[in-house]
Subunit: 218 residues, 2 copies
């Protein structure tokens, strides 16, 4: 059984491994976890003894298979709870992270299995991130610009490229938020403008807008 602190380290390292190839640095972990590098060294050495990660002094760390599985399971729980909070309890998408950070550490496989079923086995969380399956497998999913989608393709809004407040207000007014389900209804060849469906609403957007919205597609 792993402690709350251990689970958080594993989860963070798991996320960092996707960006930093060939070993995650102590500093990177410290920055991400808002802690001191010395604390990270301590914990990483402890986790290395438990064989959930590989560690060579001054050389960074890599999760072992076991470590990855544990981390993916924490992330699975986090994302399933986020779905619950947004879909069932109607939380706004941007308020759920902190709560899910707590719920992800609740220990009960049966609970997660039932929650998964109750939510009808979702593949993505409200931020568009994929939910690992119970074995820790994550479906490959790619983040694309809305402007790269073709007619009839769908995606979930996962973020924006430019984030000045005018642009965010524009999105807000049109009910485009992180987690919004978007479908391309039509695309103009000449200027790249689009007719899209957001939830139940249809609207027309210019290429400039479509160039600044990231979607995850499946």
């Amino acid at each position: 059984m792993y402690s709350l602190a251990e689970e958080n380290y594993l989860k963070t390292i798991f996320h960092l491994e996707k960006e930093c190839e060939g070993g995650v640095s102590t500093n990177a972990i410290a920055v991400k976890m808002d802690t001191k590098p010395s604390s990270v060294t301590d914990m990483v050495q402890k986790l290395a003894e438990k064989e959930v990660l590989l560690y060579k002094k001054y050389k960074g760390t890599q999760l072992t298979k076991t470590g990855k599985k544990i981390a993916a399971n924490v992330i699975r729980k986090h994302r399933l709870w986020e779905v619950f909070l947004v879909e069932i309890l109607n939380f706004p998408w941007d308020e759920v992270h902190e709560i899910a950070e707590q719920l992800e550490h609740v220990k009960s496989d049966e609970l997660i299995s039932r929650l998964d079923k109750y939510l009808d086995f979702p593949d993505f969380d409200p931020h568009g991130d994929p939910i690992p399956d119970k074995h820790g497998k994550i479906k490959p999913s790619e983040k694309k610009l809305l402007s790269d989608l073709e007619k009839n393709q769908r995606g979930i809004c996962v973020g924006v490229k430019e984030s000045n407040s005018e642009f965010l207000q524009y999105l807000d007014k049109r009910k485009i938020a992180i987690g919004s389900k978007i479908k391309v209804l039509g695309k103009e060849f000449f200027d790249g403008s689009m007719m899209i469906q957001v939830g139940r609403n249809q609207l027309f957007i210019s290429k400039i807008i479509a160039d600044n919205i990231y979607l995850k597609t499946n």
Copy 2:
């Protein structure tokens, strides 16, 4: 903000206060929490400094108003989560306690408020225990054992006393669940056995069964 350990102490003392009048003993707390009396003394002194309880050496402790409110809130969360686990995720009654012990420490008033609403503001948990309101007030429970009802009295099943799985399966088979409307059709003087009506079905139960079913009467 109170730690997990602190919340557990407050909760335990809250429960013990109902039985032991005039100060809860160190030993009683230690037994209930499966810990050592010396650990209890340490914690109780710490909590006394935080003014959530009153403590006089060798004389036991009593919660202050603040302490009671914190404890009641933890219990509120515990019981609401139990309702969620049983009613929404269809857990058997006897498997939810351990999970609720973890969920009760998740910190978010908004979460509990939304959960409460989603569950349609339940008054009792699956064991028939009353759920404190957000101010820590507990409705005086009109909870009775089925065996205490007389002929022609009615009630709604709100919980069970013993919750081993055989008993729960027995209830399950006879369609006795939380919310079931039960009417006493007849009661034997000698052995306390009863003929009851559950919904549209009539059935005969022994006193042992009737002793383990809690009803809310009106």
